[in-house]
Amino acid sequence: MFRLQSFHMYGIIGSAILVGMASVLLIKHFQIKTLPGEAVVIPTKKFHWGNVYGGLIFGLGWAITGACPGPLFAQIGSGFGVITVTLLSAIAGTWVYGLLRDKLPH
């Protein structure tokens, strides 16, 4: 993917975004309700500098492990038991972020 020798992952992410976008537009246009009958609310994301710093750190890790959080679970299911260690380490990373949150620039 990051070698730009394969289109596969770009196709997956790009088409997932297009389908997601189209379905959100349809939900809004026809004011489709949720199953329990509530109006659909889309949580807004506020910008903070963590989007940049955290994004870069995640990007570096993504290219090492070959996985964002979702595929970590899929890889474990696929039979790579050792990825449970990666997952535990990712949980530890989240925990350390929670611990240092007030000291980090946002």
Binding site: Q5, N51, G55, I64, G70, A74, S89
Partner: protein, 218 residues
């Protein structure tokens, strides 16, 4: 066995029609299974992932985002009085079932739907990796880096432990990962998610081009 049953059932014109119908179903089944056992093209896999967004919204206003599960696990198991982990994680427990489903899906796909072929990567990428000493392309991950034996080497420790830590720390610091920002965020036209996604990509490119070649050769 099924086919024998069909043959025995030939007798009248009526049962020939039934036989023909079963045969069609058999062929259809083989074609479907053959499709499932191939690696799915991006234009099948991508839209299916995209459909998770409206599905979760319509089930009950749930936002697609996998990395949140890591936060809920922290909140459930080791909150340690940290304010960031003091919230009602049980309200978000659907997210934990969701990731359990991903794990189960990985199991089903590998056990029942994979046709024993090697991972489908560009031959040029494979050549490059072989030059760097990676030779196992049989599964989702190269076993010559990602295995319990390798965990005790410096290289294995960096790929498995340090890499995982960066994924967990970075996604929470960024407020989401490829699902929460790139798919959910951009789908709903939120520019902070676009910024975060660009930073994911920049980080990925820097690692792959400038750092990874040295790490692999450790």
């Amino acid at each position: 066995m099924k086919l024998l049953f069909h043959v025995n059932s030939i007798g009248t014109n009526y049962s020939i029609a039934i036989y023909y119908r079963y045969l069609c179903l058999d062929v259809l089944w083989l074609v479907i299974m053959d499709f499932f056992k191939q690696p799915w093209p991006w234009y099948v896999a991508g839209p299916l992932i995209g459909l998770v967004v409206p599905t979760l919204l319509l089930i009950g206003n749930k936002a697609f985002g996998v990395s949140s599960s890591l936060r809920h696990i922290c909140a459930a198991c080791l909150p340690a009085n940290i304010p960031f982990f003091k919230y009602n994680w049980k309200k978000e427990s659907w997210n934990l079932f969701f990731v359990a489903g991903i794990m189960f899906g990985g199991y089903i796909a590998t056990q029942y739907l994979s046709g024993n072929h090697t991972v489908n990567i560009n031959p040029q990428t494979a050549t490059l990796l072989k030059q760097q000493g990676v030779n196992d392309f049989s599964g989702l991950l190269p076993g010559d880096i990602f295995s319990f034996q390798q965990l005790l080497t410096l290289r294995g420790f960096i790929f498995i432990v340090i890499g995982g830590f960066m994924v967990g720390f970075g996604t929470r610091y960024a407020g989401g990962c490829t699902s929460g920002h790139a798919i959910m965020g951009i789908s709903t036209l939120q520019w902070p998610s676009m910024v975060a996604t660009c930073c994911f990509m920049i980080g990925g490119f820097i690692m792959t081009w400038f750092i990874l070649p040295y790490l692999i050769q450790q």
